[in-house]
Symmetry: D2
Subunit: 359 residues, 4 copies
């Protein structure tokens, strides 16, 4: 009800403020008997952390996840899996000047209006630090999916006006993690890095898009009407900090297409029913059809910039503001594991939900 | 869990197949004491119905909503509001040839794979007829919102490649309902109608987009983290049949913007805190900031077309298929009240949820 | 949230007031492929109806259930099953004198305080008429359970001070439905009937208890911690109008027992692990252990009596009140199918929930 | 879904096994602006802990609660309140002999059947240690209720056959915490202590009952039909380890009462509508009527006893078993704060739910 839980059967609840003692989460509904590779979880978390390279925030958070329950002798027991990541090196003093200030395009003002109180240190609960807990939850969801041969991969498809136009099928998705910006095209990746470096020098920030592909989802996953697979994916993506748009399959392009062009013709390949094209993005009527599911998410530029801005404080007085310290110029590369994690939470949850669709 | 309920406090459950005895719904959680204008509900339903004009489906459904409970002496009593719309003139025989056929880009195949059984008549549960129940639910949500001076208006902003580029602020939104295609720009509206007529003659169909504006939402509505206002709007929109994308505020455009351009500067106007620009689309950190909320939804072309297509049947045999009878060339104009209804459900629900955010 | 839905996967939502146009419900989450015996549903409903015999309310409601969706060619399709029972012969005029009156031990006062408005005709939503919808829902749950060889039987074990002391194992449960009071012991049943007839003449009413036995639940059903099987059964039973207490297995007797007496010793019978005694009532740690589940529910006497009572009206003025027309002296016999239905809803829901407890 | 969350608006999720690194919980939905008295929380937790006196388990757990999030400068912020209690001095080795053993009337067998895996150390998740997290959650719920002048007090009303027959109104409830067995009658309390000491020497255990009184609940709290206040209280109570029965108001006694005796006559006292008697236990139609809410919960004897018992192991082989170490002879006195905590969770949740019942 207060919005800190995601999922229906595989349920992730996250908690924590960026400058409180710890962040973390509880997964309830993970089936018993799943082998848990703790190293894989930590590795996923490392993919999200700041300080990975020259183009990400220089904070070196070295987040370490500790699992508190729900796993016994390397396997899930069916009871809640709680985990915690202690916050380190938070310099709360750094934030005293923000106590009464409303930073532009941040959540300071809206939290104040909603709750009448807020932890102003580092954005408190509205900080993207919360997404670390999603990555832990998502990594366990991925373990469920991997056991079903379902795989999720995301990459940066746009930074500013540098856009990767190619279809994902012509890209080498195995090269994503080799790229500092998580772009599977070397040339475009280099341009993106150059743009980020340039904006860093200018004290500015930039937006981008992420494309995500989910392979191996069997037909039949997704619940019709309100919990269509694309609806839950859209919600998952728009719940990520800075996300501004979602499209799947043909997406916004479909608005200018004719039915005769857009319809995916069914064909038989061996014993398997498949489609010639995949404008449907692997989903028809809210239910997976066995084709690749793919979608794209837009992210706005980071709101904290290193140039001076004018804003107001709690009392409506004009104030000057300049970002200080350790901030990403572009969070899109670091958002790649978050997009994958949220996708994994959706698919794992729907995979389990589908287990009760037939007697 | 099976996906037929929407909302957390104001909860709409819908039921019904397009060719069963009736469709309908139950609203649980509507506060007591709300005056119910049954004519308004019927009027909203009429905005969605086929047969409104030459460019919509010629079926004249004349859906009539009957309210079965929850209203006493013209007011809600706090108990569930059930309503029913009987299905009339369904010619189930018309659908016998579809019994074993998988229509391209329809949900026949996926329902079969999920449930092992499906009501094939007119798409059954996957038919857009289900959205009539959403419009009834949405109209009651609108009555809650109107009492708070919150207003929702949607219009057609694109059909095929005919696009209304103007900002919604420069449009006369009061003229929307005067337009057959629900486009508030006469010239563009005429072009859209011409395009639809042309495609009708060609036996084809076309996609489009809808823009929706919500005015009057006070600051503080929306739940952070997973149930951000934009996340629930995205889910609501992507749950509509044929929807393929969602963006709010600056949307996909934000991907190519710099922080210095995109940040919405806070200013004080009299006693009220407002922002100079509204790239945020009225939402910051998942919570309304008092500015207009606006978003855009993409719709694919109708899958049923009047030209011959090739497909396969249940057994994988090739079959020819040609749409017959009464189908829209473009459902986007009729989707306008559905978009508004889903938006109303989201905002009314979050308006009520916010009532427990402070002691 | 507003309390009109029961269950987590197999979800029943009920609606309707006793003197509105109709009551009914929607079942969401019934698995596809279940054969629906509509006659069985109607028969279950008939077991609950008034006018069955000289000792029940003389109203002859002849409730007829109509199914509106979710069933196709005799089988569930996985989509919501909506059903409706029209209210007939409601004489709303009969209730005009109750408009401003608070009947003792009825919900008139509390509904008024909660909602500020109420449908005063025949108790409105608080009428036990609502339970007809539960019986429809419960009968479909029973069909799921019967397919798993799980059977539920309840009987009247006490009316006033006439108590059936015997263990259920020594009773002929097949004879329950032959008894006007649904008591499987002829002698006690006759005494109960005599008591009810006597109180009818005195214009009074009487309470009682129901015992329910669930056979065939396999080990492993129930969710630990908050959704223990007994917790959900307790909630289900206490949600029935007039229910005042619940105990399972050894129940309140266990308070005076020693551990050495109470522990159920595990033994092996052939290949099956069983227990020598069953004080646990078939549930350990909230999860079924394969033994019979049994529990007892207490019901208070009907609040409407045919003798004159003093009460107050909305304005606090003293008023005299005398029940008129058609009321049960003792609702316990008619509550038997309601207890069974609520038990079926709990077990069917937990049976489905358990399907996702392991990978 | 997996049963580790309680509540609808004020939601408590608990986690942890008795011999894992920690237990704890997350409260989501606590309104912002509530002053948190951490000492009060710790004091409540101390009321539950073992080692309080000669009659409780000699383990001296000294549980210390650490709050990780959701509180800033002494007040709730509206974000999730996570808390953790580290497990200390767990001697897991002590439990090696239980690895394959099914202890009588414990949850070993049923967890194994459900999950195929279990943490056998000290009962794992099924240990009553989990209830420490409920007490933390309940203490925060109590703070919400205290601000509304709603107070909850429970006491031991029976141990074995020693029963406190008096009405709660004639007891001095302020003396409860002065009694080692939490019995507000000195004489009965002494008898209960003697009985417990005697059974301790015999290596046996004993059951009992707890009575709970909730004062100050305003009329209008509770949701009709399925989430009646008594239904949610019943579920809450039956979810406590070892609970076997629940009755409220007249309870099982009502079964032998006549309507003319049982009806609570409405009267006016000054401006306030009240009732002459309170057989209804403060609830009519599932909604509070402003009178005291009172109920009784039965607890079975502790399953672990210090005498030798026979049982079987995983493979069905007979084994001898004798409880060792640190176990309560009677958990009822320590269950008093747990009963109060669960009641507080129910009332706080329904108090908040009621805030959206009217426009």
């Amino acid at each position: 009800m207060a919005g800190n839980t995601f999922g229906n059967i595989f349920m992730l609840t996250t908690f924590g403020e960026s400058h409180g003692p710890a962040i973390g989460g509880v997964i309830d509904g993970c089936p018993a008997g799943l082998e848990i590779d703790v190293e894989f979880i930590q590795k996923e978390l490392d993919r999200r952390r700041p300080g990975q390279s020259s183009i990400t925030s220089p904070r070196d958070e070295k987040d370490k996840v500790e699992i508190l329950s729900g796993i016994f002798e390397g396997k899930t027991t069916g009871t809640p899996i709680a985990f915690i990541i202690y916050n380190k090196n938070q310099k709360s003093k750094d934030y005293d000047h923000l106590k009464e200030l409303y930073r532009p395009s941040h959540a300071d003002f809206t939290y104040d209006k909603k709750y009448g109180i807020r932890d102003y240190r580092g954005g408190g609960r509205s900080s993207a630090r919360e997404t670390a807990a999603r990555v832990v939850g998502g990594s366990i969801a991925k373990l469920i999916l991997q056991a079903q041969d379902i795989n999720i991969q995301a990459y940066v498809s746009q930074i500013g006006s540098i856009t990767l136009e190619q279809d994902y099928k012509s890209l080498n998705l195995d090269s994503i993690e080799n790229s500092l910006v998580r772009c599977p095209d070397d040339k475009k990746g280099t341009e993106m890095i150059d743009l980020i470096e340039k904006l860093k020098n200018e004290g500015d920030s930039i937006g981008g898009t992420i494309t995500c592909i989910i392979k191996g989802v069997p037909p039949g996953i997704g619940e019709p009407v309100f919990d269509k697979l694309q609806a839950d994916l859209a919600k998952a993506m728009l719940s990520i900090n800075a996300a501004k748009g979602f499209e799947y399959g043909s997406g916004f392009e479909s608005a200018s297409m004719k039915g005769s062009e857009h319809n995916d013709t069914f064909i038989k390949e061996g014993d398997r029913i498949t489609t010639e094209t995949n404008f449907s993005g692997g989903i028809q009527g809210g239910i997976s059809n066995g084709q690749d599911i793919y979608f794209r998410v837009a992210f706005k530029p980071v709101a904290t910039i290193m140039s001076e801005q004018v804003t107001i404080d709690k009392n409506g007085n004009k104030q000057k503001l300049k970002g200080a310290g350790r901030h990403d110029v572009c969070i899109v590369p670091r958002a790649v594991p978050i997009v994958e994690s949220m996708a994994a939470l959706v698919i794992a949850d729907h995979y389990l939900r589908n287990k009760v669709s037939r007697l």
